[in-house]
Amino acid sequence: MSLQRDAQRRTPGRRFAAALLLGASLFGGQAMAEQVTMVVSGLGGNDDYQRQFDRYAAAIAEQSRKLSANPADTVLLPGSAATRENILGTIDDIMARKPESFALYLIGHGSHDGEHYKYNIPGPDITGAQINEALSTDFEQRQFVVVATSASGALLELLSAENRVLVTATKNGRERNAVFFPQFLSEALGDIGADTDKNEIISAEEMFQYAERAVAAYYETEKLLASEHPRMEGSFAADFATAHYGTLLNQAGEIAPDLLEKRTQISANINSLRARKDDLSEEKYFDELQTLMLELGAVQREIDQRSSQ
């Protein structure tokens, strides 16, 4: 006899805790909107690190390009091109375009002297204050900023902003060893396993959770004292797209509007039902969920069929 059938928990309160991300709006909405991504690989200090940083940055840029039909929406500044002038100038250019959203990835080494953070690049380094200044210029759209460097946790307070999701590789400026976080970050964007809600979009939150777990697992497996603890701050990470795959990738911009609308509506209904979960009996909740999920499945199959014609 199985546990579920004959074992009965007497302590209530065990609830479905994970946030449910129904990608209604992002799937048919802002994922298709203009999102500009800028990826920088900083100074490696030696050939090994340089190769690694360039590789991670290239992988992130490659995934980012799939988010948009316009190649100009992704900018990669690798190695020697990543000078302070180029970085700040490119940020200015992007800000001037006023895209609906802006994602910035800084890969490499960082340092913190107890007071100031510096991103290590060829020529003069960029300080945290300079990054903040460049990002804060009259820009109210959503920003997703990833500083995947050592000591990047020093920026948590400085770079926090209402319209910004900020990811750092460390929890503070004292974690100064070279970090593994960017490796797992780039892996997350190329691994559909990161897409836990299976909506064919890897959100910023899913990307972060994947990389965070991978970092922890790495130190655990290697029996090392963890010297990096990634952090994420900001409110919209769950619906900020960082990568697409599957049908959505193939069909970007070509899905029939009526189907998109239908799917968006069903997703909204599922969200609404989820919000009422505690007010419904378990049986009723799952009955209603089943109805909606069958509807969603039917629409999804229609989309798939059309895409294969």
Binding site: S2, Q4, A7, R10, T196, I270, Q290, M293
Partner: protein
């Protein structure tokens, strides 16, 4: 009780901790006591508490420093007393009496390690000072050492009229249920107490203990004590200790309830009552008495620790299940309720295994011990070892693995220790065997017998194959350190050398094993039932086996010679061969390593622990590229009980490579009993079981996987749904697939399964 080898003294601590440290609180045996204090003592001992307070209080202000210290102590102001003693010693540094009394204060406040130096200083001033010598012996007894007993025996020779020494010796006799010897000592103590005009209250309490242990029903001594002092709670509190060391928690609670009834201000009794109600799963009752104890004595660490534990228990879930099975000839199936009390963070992944093993154990032991459990069985697993330690002995930092209090058992959960540090399945099996052996004998079996049966059941019916004797136990056997069976309890209660508790566990297990083989398992059960009649080991051996205990000792020796003669005779050679094999591996001399390993395995093939020759053999064959032979060596190691999780993973992987999937699954399954908190393990096992058609096992594995909070829960829910579907449980399958979709609404595979489950459309 199950202990880890390196921390074997813990059991002793359980027995002695709160007994000797509280000795002498009510009755003072101070030979140089000030007359003013004696006058107050007399009032107190007559039960006139308020009057005694009025008597002591002025002495705190008017007497000399050491008298003031005594008065403060008598009034329960131990911190004040400590400070006063400090000043008194500074004032009279050459006075051994004051140092000895200061030591007694530490002894009474559960700090024997602080007391010892003070007694030693007093003895430097006066080597023959009996009060300090007895205090030192009492303090050393807390450590369980044999040294203390020798010191006491010498004191009794030097001071045959010392009532206090006689009482300590009587207590030692009572601990091993040697009632005749204890009574003789107590009668002498009574004689000298009368001669010296000392109050006989403690003697009466120990007399009452003796009657209780004999189950005579004679309450004469309680009545005598209460006639002198109606508020003398120790007349019940002291016997409670002896019930506790004999696992009689219900009886202990009964007498502790009497203790607090006659003396509501007996905080230690309230504390012990609370702790033991908790052992009987009366959580509310425990809270009530612990709260009273804390109110009266907020410095009692046992009280404070247990109250903290009660807060921790709020984080646990009670999961109800039952063992259901039929016995031949029975009209109806037996249904034994089981409550699994698990921490909420690990309940989901542990519960299936705890449930599985507990059900199997209940059925197995019900059959083997001809006994049906009468109450629900409660199984507690603690992920924090110190919580478990407080649960068992009210103090953190002890090395126990599991403890059984009758129908309630508590143990470390697998996550309480480093991966692979202990085989938690065996520990649970060991404790579950205790539940039966304790209850069959009505808590009256000798310690060695219940431990022996648990070890024996571990070897024969538990989840780990083979008999595993630690090397230091083999060395002890070789060095003729085993005790006669009639005295084997001493090896647990009062060990005389460092690893004697472990040695005694194994000796007890070997005795039970030998009885089972030479006579029958049924004889073991007969003995267990006979212990209900309060017989001693010798009587049980004579009546059930028909031989004298000494003959049983001889049989054990023959049995050991037969089974372990080779390794015992060639121990050094074996150890050297193991070392040579390892050296050969180090220098990549694999053929030579194989030769050494084979020789070592000829001598002692059962050895599967660290540096096992089977592992060396595996490594050597791997080095030579002989994969089949390497796997065979590792498989033999596993077959004989090897359970290092890393090596088991390696074996499973290699077996899979060789196409031996069923064996690989079996090996992986065994890892659950040593290291179950591994996501990859459950995912692999779940898939294997699905592939082999064992859907129930697959379901268990996928549930465990989900309980470990995997990154992608939707996949785990989907796999659970598929297992339900295969088990024709469409309703559960539908629920699980909806849970998968709840996490991941666009999950195509889950959408398809939902459609299939609701419409039968598998397209």
């Amino acid at each position: 009780m199950r202990i880890r080898q390196p921390l074997r003294h813990a059991t002793i601590l359980v027995c002695a901790l709160y007994w000797f440290s509280t000795a002498g609180v009510t009755v003072e045996y101070d030979p140089n006591r000030d007359d003013a204090l004696l006058a107050c003592d007399a009032i107190y001992n007559s039960g006139k508490i308020d009057a005694s307070i009025d008597c002591y209080q002025p002495l705190m202000r008017q007497g000399s420093l050491h008298v003031a210290a005594e008065a403060a102590w008598a009034l329960g102001e131990t911190r004040n007393a400590n400070e006063l003693f400090r000043r008194a010693v500074a004032d009279q540094p050459g006075n051994p009496h004051i140092r000895a009394r200061w030591g007694r204060l530490f002894l009474s406040t559960h700090q024997p390690s602080q007391a010892v130096p003070l007694f030693e200083e007093a003895l430097q001033l006066d080597p023959e000072y009996a009060h300090a010598r007895i205090g030192l012996a009492a303090a050393l007894l807390n450590g369980g050492g044999s040294e203390a007993r020798q010191v006491l025996a010498q004191i009794a020779i030097d001071h045959p009229d010392s009532v206090e020494a006689l009482l300590l010796l009587a207590r030692l006799q009572l601990e091993t249920s040697s009632l005749d010897s204890a009574n003789q000592l107590l009668d002498q103590a009574l004689h000298y107490a009368e001669e010296q005009q000392l109050p006989p209250l403690d003697i009466y309490a120990l007399k009452a203990t003796s009657e209780m242990l004999a189950n005579s029903g004679d309450e004469r001594w309680e009545n005598e004590a209460l006639a002198i002092n109606p508020g003398y709670g120790d007349v019940y509190y002291i016997p409670a200790h002896y019930h506790l060391i004999n696992y009689r928690y219900r009886e202990a609670v009964e007498v502790l309830e009497k203790a607090v009834a006659v003396q509501p201000t007996h905080w230690s009794a309230h504390s012990q009552l609370g702790i033991n109600l908790l052992r009987l799963n009366d959580i509310e009752g425990a809270k009530e008495h612990l709260a009273i104890a804390y109110e009266g004595d907020p410095y009692d660490t046992a009280t404070v620790n247990t109250l903290r534990l009660l807060d921790t228990l709020e984080e646990f879930e009670d999961i109800d299940t039952e063992a259901v099975f039929s016995l031949p000839g029975a009209d109806a199936p037996i249904q034994t309720p089981i409550v699994m009390r698990l921490h909420r963070d690990e309940a989901d992944y542990l519960a299936p295994y705890v449930e599985d093993l507990t059900r199997r154990a209940v059925e197995t032991f019900t059959r083997r011990y001809r006994f049906e459990l009468k109450e629900p069985l409660i199984v507690e697993l603690f992920p924090n070892h110190d919580d478990f330690a407080v649960r068992t002995v009210s103090t953190p930092g002890v090395g126990l693995l599991g403890v059984t209090f009758g129908y309630l058992l508590a143990m470390d959960s697998p996550s309480a220790r480093a991966v692979g540090e202990f085989h938690w399945g065996s520990t649970l099996w060991h404790e579950l065997a205790h539940v039966f052996t304790i209850e069959v004998s009505d808590h009256l079996m000798p310690r060695w017998f219940t431990e022996g049966l648990s070890v024996y059941e571990e070897w024969h019916t538990g989840p780990l194959r083979g008999r595993h004797l630690p090397l230091d136990v083999l060395e002890a056997i070789r060095d003729k350190k085993l005790l006669p069976v009639a005295e084997l309890d001493n090896g647990f209660v009062r060990p005389s050398y460092p690893n004697q508790v472990t040695v005694s566990y194994m000796q007890a297990g070997l005795i039970c094993d030998m009885i089972s083989k030479k006579w029958s398992h049924e004889k073991l059960v007969d003995m267990l039932e006979l212990f209900r009649d309060r017989v001693d080991t010798g009587t049980a051996v004579r009546q059930i086996l028909g031989i004298e205990p000494e003959q049983l000792d001889a049989e054990l020796q023959a049995y050991i010679d037969e089974n372990y003669g080779t390794i015992l005779n060639r121990f050094e050679e074996w150890r050297d061969t193991i070392a040579s094999a390892r050296d050969a591996i180090k220098f990549k001399q694999y053929q030579r390593a194989i030769e050494y390993a084979n020789t070592a395995n000829e001598i002692f093939p059962q050895y599967v622990a660290q540096s096992s020759a089977w592992l060396t053999l595996h490594e050597a064959h791997t080095g030579l590229g002989q994969q089949e032979e390497a796997v065979a060596a590792l498989d033999t190691w596993y077959e004989r009980g090897g359970h290092d999780p890393e090596m088991l993973h390696q074996l499973a992987h290699r077996l899979r490579d060789l196409g031996r999937r069923d064996r690989a699954t079996q090996v992986l399954e065994s890892i659950n009993w040593v290291s179950p908190n591994n996501i990859d393990l459950h995912e692999r096992l779940g898939k294997d079981y699905m592939a082999s058609g064992n859907y129930a096992a697959a379901l268990r594995e996928f549930r465990a996987l989900l309980g470990l909070q995997p990154h992608d829960k939707s996949v785990a829910h989907l796999n659970i749904a598929k297992a339900h579907q295969k088990l024709d449980d469409t309703k559960s399958a539908r629920r699980s697939v909806l849970q998968a979709l709840e996490h991941a609404p666009f999950f195509r595979e889950a959408q398809d399964l939902l459609l299939e489950l609701t419409t039968g459309d598998a397209s």
